[in-house]
Assembly symmetry: C3
């Protein structure tokens, strides 16, 4: 599992969201998996629960369906800029990785604003076909506007 493959996986992840091809997003996860959105403050305090939680691909797909029905995403666009991945350890073909992110929200009139920053805490592993997947992706936000966070995957 080299850095080039991590770059590829993360690039596919943000591309699915920013191009609003949300249906591709669950496919980047293992099944079962863990996807959770939380805050640095909650992590520091040891709180387990998050703002968003899914532990299977079906749950991720449900979320995409809800998003499509709500049509909320059409009011604005998002742009992820993902930093350099840091591999913390590798074990039995799986790796723990931390990757910083920054998300900008672009409104219909072109106004841009910082939407969220934080760090992805990931466990990644190859599946049966050799493709790299997220076994876990914990989205640890530094600070965020949680009223709107439900709208799109982070």
């Amino acid at each position: 599992m080299d850095v080039a493959r991590l770059v590829e996986l993360n690039a596919a992840y943000v591309r699915a969201i920013d191009n609003e091809k949300f249906e591709q997003w669950p496919k980047l996860f293992a099944d079962p998996c863990l996807y959770k959105v939380t805050t640095a403050e909650n992590v520091a305090k040891g709180y387990e629960s998050g703002i968003m939680y899914a532990d299977s691909r079906a749950m991720l797909e449900d979320r995409v369906s809800a998003l499509r029905e709500a049509n909320i995403y059409e009011r604005q666009r998002y742009r992820h800029v993902v930093g350099l991945p840091m591999v913390l350890n590798r074990k039995n073909g799986a790796a723990s990785v931390e990757t910083p992110f920054l998300i900008v929200r672009i409104m219909g009139d072109g106004t841009m604003a910082l939407f969220a920053t934080g760090c992805y805490h990931d466990k990644v592993a190859t599946d049966g076909t050799g493709a790299l997947k997220f076994v876990e992706r914990i989205v640890v936000c530094d600070g965020a506007r949680f009223d709107t966070l439900v709208a799109i995957p982070l």
Copy 2:
């Protein structure tokens, strides 16, 4: 064409612009080439025309000359942060690549603002000397302040 070489090409691109060494910028393109600035909205609607267009290195050089004469760039600085490149396909030594970007504008008094976000839609290939060049770079902006966009290459 591995990720490391794409990283190198993109790093050279943003360095030329952010360090105001604009004369280096056209050299990163093939000749003929295609350089176009447009918006995600225009792309979605199928509009072909863009805000800026050049199809040869000479046109890119003209743009740099105009910029130097106008001296507009001296009033502010720009900082590109380029995300992870995603190779969509490779064919006959050429590759289609998408790379997200974020540009911050820094005014003379130190004030910083988000200037533009978007995604580079590129075709890259090696030239006769083996150097990697942009055959196409379509700059697809999420949203942007187009009054000032003429000032510098994106």
Copy 3:
């Protein structure tokens, strides 16, 4: 010294700062070393002095101690997003590298603001154990709020 190792070094650097594990920060430097914070304007004018200066690991450690005592960092968090590194030249196992950065500051109430942008001008080399270290890291800020810059390493 390939790009993957530069990515790793930079990822460790920003992780130490953004996770407030400041004690890990000096260990990423050679000893003696050069760490300096300055501005693009000062560099253009040929000014040698910077806002912050250290030429040994002990000086970097002093800075961390001062920071810990002041507890200033607790009031806010920072998030670095580092761009793609550009290797300018390699000589005798050392490399000159430029790497753009963007730092967001996140206040206790979740408000986010651009804090600083700029470019790291580095000399990196492997030490006796084969680990990659910063022999020099000149932090060239495009613009920044220098009242608060003393608080954390950039």
